[in-house]
Amino acid sequence: MVRRLVRWHVNFILSCATTGVSPNELAGDRRTDLRDAGKQDTVEKAPAPFLARHEFLIRRLHSLSGLIPVGAYMVVHLTTNASVLNSSATFQRAVYAIHSLGNLLPLVEWTFIFLPILFHAIIGVVIIRGGLPNTGSYKYTNNIRYTLQRATGMIAFLFIMWHVFHMHGWFHFPAWLRVAEPLGGAQFSPYNAASTLGAAMSGLVVPALYAIGVLSCVFHLANGIWTMGITWGVWISPAAQKRADVVCTVIGVGLAVLSMSALGGAMKIDVEEAEAVENRMYEAKLATGELDEASSAHKRADHAAGEEHSSSADASRLHAGAGRAE
């Protein structure tokens, strides 16, 4: 079974790399493809492409990845962020807790967050391109939700790409950061969590875009849990689906309140006061030896920690410092 799994993954990557993910392969509309295929296939049946052969598994993994780890991560993220409502220090402590993983953090981030999100997003785009939304003719609630699920998915994808750039910068090697920072990227510094967050959330445009993006994510997750339950056969009868719908609505509303609170909290941060608190906490950690200056510098705001300190960090490594709550 392990061999099968490995072979499968190799195939998957190869096939994505060589053919690109064609929207027609996973979705219904194969008109053009098959016309061409048919020309060669009249005598002998050509084997279906890899993605088509494993359509079921890919779609189920897509469904699963939306909940675990992507959805679960989103809940943790929003909760962490909402802790800023208590105080800047609480938020900073939560961020420190995440960063206590140290050098393992990037691995965890890529395996459990970035790759699953990318997988979910790319397959999601393929799925969207295979459908023909028809809410114009059929204005049923569930059909509107079908269309909204796709719309919010696309918004969420764009938002997350921007959000990761905005806060995190995508990559952390200095050459890139010199490009990203002037473009408004990589605004967040984990050891100055609240203050950099507060600074990034200034004005009205950015918070407004965040509100749209985050609410899209929340709808997409809550509605996605409901459809996932049908897809996997958890809730079957219309009555069970109705009950599940109530639960998912509660989850969605809860997450919406949580996320909007976090956003409101971020907007209200007094940057200078927060920075003072963060710096005190940082000094204390240095004093106890919990952190050392050399490996911490790149996680501090530029004016708090000089550029020279971070140069010792392995710059060529793709250092993704997520977990700072995005």
Binding site: R59, N143, Y146, G233
Partner: protein, 284 residues
């Protein structure tokens, strides 16, 4: 009233019908207007019958009768599905009085969009029947000899199975499904009938199988004898174009003229395929 009629709008004793016509596969479609005399208790079939008999448009132009498919006229054969005022349904049960209540100015008829048009309102739904073959929609009995009665079944089993077996393959669920997209192939020069049919079937087998076929698979998987081929049916539902293509828009169950619990079947198939996949991964 006379004025209204002259202006080409529906009046009390006449009403207008706008039909999207197409002379043959691959040709462009065009709208055509007909005026029909109002009678009591009319349905869309009787409207089309009148149009066929008069064979003349609003402008007095002689035209070929509109081509359409129908048979039983009491909503059990599934033949007369079409888009009426923008929504797919059976033409026989579409009563003119109701349609005019919703839209007094005219009745609009269009062929289904998810199946290739043969002519006018008539479409080729062979893909639906192919779907039934795909999921092995039958009870695999040994023979038709006299072997006594079938296995005894509870009333509860029958009450679950019966609604599913009312499916008349009308195609409404596919037409309304945003995940079901049209597959239209044309016969190539020099291609034999058999080759073309094989090529079509292969294309159909890769397209989304659709709610009706998923539901039929569940019907036969619940039959005491049909169960014996349950694994094969689930394999079919997990192949390309299988149940995974469903996007849970649930239009199928809304438009089904027989009120078949299609989304229940889909969820049931979802569970069955989940378990079947696990079984295949860990047992085989």
């Amino acid at each position: 009233m006379a004025e209204e009629a002259r202006e080409g709008r529906s009046s009390k004793d006449h009403f207008e019908v706008r039909i999207l016509r197409q002379n043959g596969p691959g040709q462009s479609s065009y709208w055509e207007r007909h005026r029909v005399k109002y009678e009591h208790d009319m349905n869309v079939i009787s409207v089309l019958q009148r149009i066929a008999a008069q064979a003349e448009t609003v402008d007095g132009k002689s035209v070929a009768p509109v081509c359409w498919d129908c048979n039983c006229l009491e909503e059990v054969c599934g033949a007369c599905s079409m888009n009426i005022n923008g929504r797919v349904r059976q033409a026989c049960s579409a009563l003119v009085d109701r349609l005019l209540e919703d839209n007094p100015s005219e009745i609009e008829l269009q062929p289904m969009t998810k199946f290739p048009v043969i002519r006018d309102l008539m479409v080729d739904r062979s893909r639906m029947f192919r779907g039934l073959t795909r999921v092995k929609g039958w009870v695999p009995v040994d023979s038709y000899e006299n072997m006594g009665p079938g296995p005894r079944q509870t009333r509860a089993t029958q009450e679950v199975a019966y609604p599913l077996s009312e499916c008349m393959s009308c195609g409404c669920c596919q037409e309304a499904c945003p995940q079901y997209t049209k597959i239209e192939l044309t016969r190539q020069e020099g291609e034999s009938e058999e080759d073309f049919s094989a090529r079509k079937n292969e294309a159909f087998d890769r397209g989304f199988v659709g709610a009706h076929a998923i539901s039929q698979a569940m019907l036969f998987n619940s039959n005491p004898t049909g169960k014996n081929a349950a694994g094969e049916r689930l394999d079919a539902l997990m192949a390309e174009g299988g149940i995974q293509v469903c996007g849970n828009a649930q239009n199928c169950v809304e438009v089904c003229p027989k009120n078949i619990p299609l989304t229940t079947s889909i969820a049931r198939a979802g569970r069955a395929t989940t378990l079947h996949a696990l079984k295949k991964w860990f047992d085989e």
